[in-house]
Symmetry: C2
Subunit: 404 residues, 2 copies
C-alpha cells in the first residue's frame, strides 16, 4: 500500500469540483462541492446519531435505499438543519443537479454543514450547479475539499493505492471537521471513493468496521453534530473480482480503508477548532477493547486534560481522574502513565502513584505538536488509541462568536 495524490479523484471513474455559490458571505471561500462518478457505484453511508438530524440527511437516507449512487453534493456555510423548507430545498438541489448531470435525483448523496436554524439560500446553490458541473475534473479533489471546509484551517484529503488479487486498486477521500467532533459516528463529513468492485452490503460492513476504530475514536469538543456523515462510493473500475464476503480481498480492502479513514480522522483531530496540537491516548493492557476505548476516549475528551496539554503541563492526575469517571473497568493502583513525543518518553505515574520526574524534560515533550498519552492498566491484553486536540483560547474565541 502506498500513498498517492488525487484525494477523492484518485480512484478510477471519479471527478470533483468546488465553487463559490454564495451560501457564505465571503466570496473568497468556496462553499459548494461535487463528487461525480462516471458509472453506477456501490454505496454505503453512516449518519449522525443525533436525534436532531439535518434535512439533507433524511433525503440521502431515502436516496440510498435504491443501492447505487452517482454523485455527492455538499455545501458549507449553512447546515440546512432546523430551518423551514429544509427537505424541499435539499430535494430541489438534487433535482437540479440530476438534470444537469443526466442522472436520477435519487442517485445523489446530499449534505450541508454550517450554522443551524437559518434557511438555506437554495437559489444560490441551484444557481451555481451549472458552473459546478462544468468544473468537474480529475484534478478537482482540492477544490471539493476546500469547499466543504467550515472553520477548518487546512483541506483534508488522502489517497492510497494497493493490490487486490493482482489488480491495482485505489481508495481516496476528503473530509471536513473542526468543531462538533465526537464519536458515535456523528463526527463530521467524510466522502470516500474507491474503484474496487464490491457489493454495497460488503461496503457497508467495511465502512462500519472501519468507522468504529477511526472516526469514532476522535473527539474535539464532545459535541455531536446534526449533519455528520461518512459516505463511500465504489465504482468497480479496478476490475477486481467483486468482493462479496469477508475473504482475503476484503481484508486487504479494509486495511486500506482503515488507513484512509484513520489518516482523515487524525487530520480532523489535529485541526480541532483552535487546536495547536494533536493529542492521542493509547491505552494498553485493558481487559477488553471496549474498556480500552472508553478509557482512551475519556482521557482525550476531558477539558481539563485538553487545557493541560495546551499549557504543556504534565498534570497526569487529570488523565487518571478522567479514566476514573469513564465507567470502564481498570485498577488505578496498577496504572502506569507516560507522555511520549518525538521519540522521547517520560514516565510520570507508576502503579497509580506519582513518580518524581524532571519537569523540564516533561515540558520539552509536551510542547511538541504531537503528543501521545501512553497508559498501561496491566489488566489484560487489549488496547485502543483515541485522538483529540488541546483546548485553547482560540477555541473559545471561534465559538464565542461563530455566527457573526
Amino acid at each position: 500500500m502506498t500513498e498517492r495524490q488525487g484525494g477523492c479523484c484518485a480512484a478510477k471513474g471519479f471527478s470533483a469540483s468546488g465553487v463559490y455559490a454564495g451560501v457564505r458571505k465571503n466570496p473568497e471561500k468556496k462553499d459548494l462541492a461535487l463528487i461525480y462518478a462516471e458509472c453506477d457505484c456501490s454505496v454505503a453511508a453512516l449518519y449522525t446519531t443525533n436525534r436532531v438530524k439535518a434535512a439533507p440527511i433524511y433525503v440521502t437516507m431515502r436516496n440510498l435505499e435504491r443501492g447505487t449512487t452517482r454523485a455527492i453534493i455538499a455545501n458549507s456555510g449553512n447546515a440546512n438543519a432546523c430551518a423551514p423548507g429544509g427537505e424541499e430545498n435539499a430535494q430541489k438541489i438534487c433535482d437540479t443537479l440530476a438534470k444537469e448531470l443526466g442522472i436520477k435525483p435519487d442517485e445523489i448523496i446530499i449534505n450541508s454543514t454550517g450554522v443551524i436554524g437559518v434557511p438555506l439560500p437554495v437559489d444560490a446553490v441551484t444557481g451555481a450547479i451549472p458552473q459546478l458541473t462544468r468544473g468537474l475534473s480529475r484534478y478537482g479533489s482540492d477544490d471539493a475539499a476546500n469547499a466543504i471546509m467550515t472553520t477548518d484551517t487546512f483541506a483534508k484529503q488522502v489517497a492510497v493505492e494497493t493490490k487486490i488479487a493482482g489488480k491495482t486498486v485505489r481508495i481516496g477521500g476528503i473530509a471536513k471537521g473542526s468543531g462538533m467532533i465526537h464519536p458515535n459516528m456523528a463526527t463530521m463529513l467524510a466522502f470516500i471513493t474507491t474503484d474496487i468492485a464490491i457489493t454495497s452490503e460488503m461496503l457497508k460492513t467495511a465502512l462500519t468496521e472501519s468507522n468504529r476504530i477511526t472516526y469514532n475514536r476522535i473527539s474535539v469538543d464532545g459535541d455531536t453534530s446534526t449533519n455528520d456523515m461518512v459516505a463511500i462510493l465504489a465504482s468497480g473500475l479496478a476490475k477486481n473480482t467483486q468482493i462479496e464476503w469477508k475473504d482475503t480481498d476484503y481484508r486487504v480492502f479494509l486495511e486500506a480503508l482503515n488507513y484512509v479513514n484513520g489518516k482523515l480522522a487524525k487530520m480532523i483531530a489535529r485541526d480541532g477548532e483552535g487546536a495547536t496540537k494533536l493529542v492521542s491516548c493509547l491505552v494498553k493492557g485493558a481487559s477488553s477493547e471496549e474498556a480500552a476505548e472508553k478509557l482512551a476516549m475519556s482521557v482525550i475528551s476531558s477539558s481539563l486534560v485538553k487545557a493541560a496539554m495546551f499549557g504543556a503541563d504534565a498534570n497526569w492526575g487529570r488523565e487518571i481522574c478522567a479514566m476514573g469517571y469513564s465507567k470502564a473497568p481498570f485498577k488505578p493502583e496498577l496504572t502506569d502513565i507516560s507522555f511520549v513525543s518525538g521519540g522521547e518518553s517520560i514516565a510520570v505515574c507508576k502503579d497509580g502513584a506519582g513518580l518524581s520526574f524532571n519537569e523540564a524534560d516533561a515540558k520539552r515533550i509536551l510542547e511538541r505538536e504531537e503528543i501521545q498519552i501512553l497508559v498501561d492498566v496491566h489488566d489484560g491484553v487489549f488496547e485502543a488509541e483515541a485522538f483529540g486536540c488541546d483546548l485553547t483560547y482560540e477555541y473559545v474565541r471561534i465559538n464565542g462568536d461563530y455566527r457573526t
Copy 2:
C-alpha cells in the same frame, strides 16, 4: 423559612475555623478548615462516583460506618489522591485531631482538594492542628469556607432558619467548587450542618433526595473529581421530636435542605473556573423528569453552548443539537427555545425551526450575568433545571497551567 448569617455555624452546636497550614505555597490563602460539633451528630455523606477515589474518601467511608461524627477536617492545595502513603497520612491527621479535640479518630470526616499525585505534606497539616482547634468559633464559617477554596473566586456559604413542629431549626453549610464540577454527586465539597434531631438513616435519605436535584444538576466542565463529597451533620440541639420517617417534619426539613444545597450548587456553577455568568437550562413539557434532566444537563454541558453564552451569541442551534445527542426522548419538531434574563425573554425557535428575532435584543439579554435557556418540548408535564456557566479564555488559562 428565612435566610440567616452564620454558614456552617448557624445551627446550634457547631463551631468552625480555618488557618494557613502550609500545604499551599501562598501563606495569604488559608488551606486547612475544621468544623466541630459539641455533641455526637447523626451523619450522612455522598462520595464521588469516580473509580479513582482519593485516600481521605476511603478513611471517611470507614469512619462513617460507626454512625456518629464530631468533626470535619479538610485541606486545600493537595488532593491526597494517587500519592504514596495517602491513607496513612489521612489517618495520621485524624489521630492528631482526635487527640487535640478529645474525641475518637473515627468520629472524623476528612477530605482534601487540590492537585492529584503529589504526596500530602502531612506534617504541615498535623503541625497546624493545635492552632486550628484553638481558633474554633461560632463565627468561624467564613474562615472555614475560605480555607477549602481552590480556584474559587468567592467563599460559598448559606444558612436558613425554619420551624419544625413549633421548634426553630437551622441548616447551613459551606462549599467549594470551581473546576471539575459534574454530576453523579461527584461534584465538589459541601459540608452541611443542622441542629435538627433526625436519625442518620433519614439524614441519608434526605441528602440523597436533595443531591439529585441540586449538586447533580450542575456542570462546569464535565470532569468528575476524585475527592468530591457532600456531608451533613445533625446535632439534634433544636430539640424537635426526632425525625424517623418521611412525615411532614421530614418534608419541611427536606425543603430547607434543598434550599441550602440548591443555593450552594448555584454558587458553584456561577463560580466555575473562568466563568463570567451563570447559565441555566430549564426544560419543560418533558415526558419524564429523567428526560427533562438529561436534556437540560446536555445543554449546559456543551462546550459549544458554553462558548456561545460567553460570546452572547443567540446560536440556539447549539442547544437543540445538544438536546439531540443527550439520548433523552423528545421531538425536535415540537421544541420551542427562548433566552430569558432580567425579566426579559426572547423566543428564538418554535416547533424546531428558527424564528426571526432582533439580534440586538438577544445580545442585550445574553450579555447579562444570569441567563436562562428556556426549552419547552411539548411532550409531557415534567420539568428539570440544570445550572452551569460559560466557557471563557480564563478557563483555558487557569487549566493550562494549574500546577505551576
